[in-house]
Amino acid sequence: MSLSANDKATVKAFWAKISPKADDIGNEALSRMLYVYPQTKTYFSHWSDLSPNSAPVRKHGKKIIAGIGLAVEKIDDLFAGLLTLSELHAFQLRVDPANFRILSHNILVVLAMLFPDDFTPEAHLAMDKFLARLALALSDKYR
């Protein structure tokens, strides 16, 4: 399900609107993922505190959302743009790609929460496609 020119424009416009709250989005999405899907906690057993809004969660939420911001910049060639991140996830982090879908879902829920008027069905469609494509690029180097 590749991104049309319209999808890319929609994502970029929506991202410009929401990026002032990027850190909140990252924190809320990660907090929810860990709470609602406890199996995802297995990747963070080395953290002191996995509860919603904790310091490690906030810090890591920032990192993740920065990665997504990078993907928005590289939206015209996600596979090339995310090559290094893909290698990181493939060889070092080895996160099962099923979890990308879980995090994406939580990002969409948080976008609806924080931007109820801007997260229209059209924006939802474009973001869902974009995150799916991002996940595909991120898992490209896995095998």
Binding site: Y35, A112, P121
Partner: protein, 147 residues
Amino acid sequence: MVEWTDFERTTIQNIFSKMNYDVVGQQALARCLIVYPWTQRYFGNFGNLYNAAAIMGNPMVAAHGKVVLHGLDRAVKNMDNIKAEYAELSVLHSEKLHVDPDNFKLLGDCLTVVCAAQLGAAFTPEVQAAFQKFLAVVISSLQRQYH
């Protein structure tokens, strides 16, 4: 038997008692048809579903969204026996409507998004977990009579 905590019961009752079924039903179903366009396959006789605006304004979509939410209400009122409550509905979706059960999750996700937009900050991680657990039970019950 599904075990519900007091928090989960209260949360579900709260959410649905405050919900406008007509509005949420229409929004969730319309969003599903827009974000996951292949779900339109089940609504061939609904007329104009050509673009997001058409879907959002379509009266048959609105009417059917209401039907779906009132169906969900049966689970809200019978949380301790959703499986039995939905046995006939499950047969209906399998034998008569021929709906691929994967679609239940798609509609459920859209319902979650609509709920999050309505509740805002009140849609805490704990509330989200309760809501998604409820939907998971509903979906599992609806899938049960597929053979």
